[in-house]
Symmetry: C2
Subunit: 204 residues, 2 copies
């Protein structure tokens, strides 16, 4: 009975079609203007059809959020070849900040928005987040083991590093860096310099 398999395939194709359209609209026009009706019109189906493939709007954005994490972790993994964990930590941080600057909407969805949260709670674990955080935690553990950074609790250090870079880029993305009253490129330079400065301060 190959029909069942074909139907399963078609179901996945339809889900992909919806996600592709939603992602495109999201990156082009932002979250608010990516309505179910807009997606429906884009893929030339009725709005009700989308609810046959996704429970609600949040589930669609949970999938987009997961795809964005795949992209970030892929970028992280490119630093696997850096053997010195302290050097690797720096590279990861720079990649993280760069990712946020180049994909502000993705970053927003991953680390700021409440949209994918209902799904995360439903699954009881934030798999995508754990994967990325785990990568930093591993690198940090190696730094501590090799005495490359000042000794401190592993989790406190990890939370500190993550909070620092998240603070920098989220204040930038949600337009609070405007208090500096400096041009955009100068603000970015300050963000980058702040990270380098912080990284130095971690050193033994």
């Amino acid at each position: 009975m190959a029909i069942k398999e074909r139907k399963e395939r078609e179901k996945q194709d339809m889900r992909n079609l919806i996600i592709e359209s939603a992602t495109q609209l999201f990156l082009k026009h932002g979250y608010d203007k990516t309505s179910i009706r807009n997606i429906a019109e884009d893929i030339e189906y009725s709005p009700a059809t989308i609810y046959l493939y996704f429970k609600d709007k949040d589930e669609i954005f949970y999938v987009i959020h997961e795809n964005a994490f795949d992209l970030l972790v892929k970028l992280f993994r490119e630093h696997d070849t850096i053997s010195n964990p302290y050097e690797r930590l720096g590279a990861i941080g720079r990649t993280y900040i760069n990712f946020a600057f180049e994909n502000p909407d993705y970053y927003d969805l991953m680390f700021i928005m409440r949209a994918p949260l209902s799904q995360i709670k439903h699954e009881e674990r934030w798999n995508a987040g754990e994967c990325a955080f785990g990568y930093v935690l591993d690198t940090l553990t190696q730094c501590l083991d090799q005495n490359l950074i000042r000794p401190a609790d592993k989790y406190i250090t990890a939370v500190s590093v993550w909070s620092f870079v998240h603070g920098l880029v989220s204040l930038y993305i949600r337009e609070r860096m405007c208090i500096l009253e400096m041009p955009d490129d100068v603000v970015r330079d300050i963000v980058n310099a702040s990270f380098e400065n912080f990284l130095q301060s971690l050193k033994t």
Copy 2:
């Protein structure tokens, strides 16, 4: 012609009534459930009346956002008596984190949400934000002048301190600290410990 003055007074009273109702609804049920219609019903006027006193919903939340800043700055000012700027910096940081924990909705509106931004752009300056940031900047400048913290650019240090605490509390408020898979009070302890650790690392 005292009528004109009375009318002006009545106009302000109505604005206050709307803000009070909106604030109460916002703190009780959150931003999304604070609709113009809900506010209108609460104050027993029609929804259209609200638009005679405020340009749009964003303007209402801009005023609430300003009031929240007044509250935070007032808390900051309580540390004016601490003569040692490094000690004062620590006290400000603890107050900031505490404020975020105790008033997450206010914090969200002040530093995360996009809602009051259109108004901020309209005024071309983020007065409320500048006031709070300026207070930190002053304290930090004194720390640098008195050689109490490691020498670095004033703005880079200010952005670093602010980003660090904002990162901590915004990850907590927007529920990303769930990756730690620890109870809420433990997470708060980690946040507090991370700040104390960071504060230490600033020392000369």
